[in-house]
């Protein structure tokens, strides 16, 4: 159940590296906080924040960035822009 499987087979087959990159980006955004042992530590403290709390805060903008990159790659995969200009709001 990766992002890549959401595309048609031909698109995935035509761009295996891009597809894999999308899958990795989305998976990283999920596993980043799911794997608790990775950040369940007090040190190193960042400012006054124990590492555990700092990590949770910093991972939100990181998730935004990862998903932004993933959707940008997806646009390339589709070979057309996600949306027509001015079609927003």
């Amino acid at each position: 159940m990766t992002q890549a499987s959401a595309r048609t087979r031909s698109a995935v087959a035509a761009h295996p590296i891009t597809s894999a990159a999308i899958a990795i980006l989305v998976a990283a955004a999920i596993v980043g906080t799911l794997w608790v042992p990775f950040y369940a530590r007090i040190t190193p403290k960042v400012g006054d924040f124990p590492f555990f709390y700092f990590y949770l805060l910093i991972f939100m903008p990181v998730t935004s960035l990862l998903l932004f990159l993933a959707t940008q790659l997806q646009k390339r995969l589709n070979g057309k822009p996600l949306d027509t200009p001015g079609g927003e709001r």
Binding site: T8, T33, A40, L56, E88
Partner: protein, 545 residues
Amino acid sequence: MSNVNATTFTIVVVLFVIVTGVGFGAARWHRAGGGTLLHLDEWGLGGRGFGTFITWFLLGGDLYTAYTFIAVPALVFGSGAIGFYAVSYTIMVFPIVLIFLPRLWSVSRAHGYVTPADFIRGRYGSRGLALAAAVTGIVALMPYIALQLVGIQAVLTVMGVGTSSTNTYVKDVPLFVAFVVLAVFTYVSGLRAPALIAFIKDTLIYLFVIVAVFYIPTRLGGWSHIFDVAQTHFNSISPTTHKPVGTFIPTSKSIGSTQFDFASLALGSAVALFLYPHAITGTLAARRRSVVKRNMIYLPMYSVLLALIALFGYMAVADPTTAANVKKAGNAQLAVPYLFQHMFPSWFTGIAFAGIIIGALVPAAIMAIAAANLFTKNIFTEFFKPDASPRLQTRMSQWVSLVVKFGALLFAVELPHTFSINLQLLGGVWILQLAPMLIGGLFTRWFHRWALLAGWLAGEIYGTIAAYNVKNATTSHWAASSDIVFGHSIYIGLTAVILNLVIVVVLTLILRAARVPQGADETLREEYTADPAEAPAPVPQQVGI
């Protein structure tokens, strides 16, 4: 009505009246193409015309509820780091949802689906499976709405509003007043009311959260002091249970392995959020597929505030007056209201309290509308009155939205409130059982409809019994939503959905081998990735079924 601070009370009432006015005015707002409110697409989906900006507020409203302001800090206040699973949850929900939600938007737009059950019916050609999905959605929303009520109640309690009667229903008269107002403007304006109020609500919330995050630590000796006090407090041994009071950093030690609990609660909640009919309603109201995707990129920014709000729980621990007040009241839900009352001048407390109350009412309205849509589309029209006119359907939804709210009131009054977060987790146990048919169905038609039904039933029964049997020192039933499985504490919703999935796979193999009819699939493969609005000649608004 003793101990009421006049300034705080006045500000709360004034803001509440403004919001109510906006709620009624919303009926006239943003109605493109001369649509009428007496159409379910208009009342229940805001005419399906919401762009990135409004969708952001609407979906953000699903996250920013009393869950955020009251329940999460209460758990952090009472148990420490485990409460931060909510932060992890609100981070991982967006990548998870990006995987399947755009597909649901596309196929729903192609077939005019309004509810998740509409999709189930179309995909599997099974009215029974759609009924299961509809009933699950309605029932699971009730404890979630109840959580909003408990949040409002917490604020009103700290404000000192309420009569001193011992009868629960008499004591909570102000709560009922707030709720009736909500019910009426939801009835009148449909989804537009909460979407418009969400602007006001989020402005108030951003204001008081940012002020609180910068101001309160200066009063409490800085962040390092707050974390130090919290660490000492949660690592200390409780004289009654002879175990640590809580956790400051999730541990991997086998006894009370909080890391496993933490991860399973976060994952379960993340998958559950966008199975809830109200979250799907908010999504389907988006104008474009790209609006949905773009929101998954921007919405994590909402979660930053959620993390900061969770830290209010530690601030409450570090402030001796607040900690003493909460302990005296014996209700962890009061942690944030007491903290604000003690830390802020009364006028600012009023703004913050109004923000919390409105922040609970808006999602409650969205949830009630979603539950009403489910009932009307998938139970009433489907089984009782197939020829119901759009006008009748909307009337029906309006009335059901009232009924659902009163059902929620029962949950709020009857279930124990040790940690109100359990209300949300209980709803999660139920709604998660839709994952195989809904998320699975968006990617594959391999699962057999009867296998899905059997797996759903098993998951619901197991989950409900397991949740009912959890007890602690003060409550004999419904005490928590985690259970010990194979020596690990794990979220019941997750174990139930794993059981569900295993049954679905095994029975699918058997039913397919026996060549039991699969049911008709009215959806096409390409409909899951398309945006019909990009087609040369878009079909004007049209409701299927």
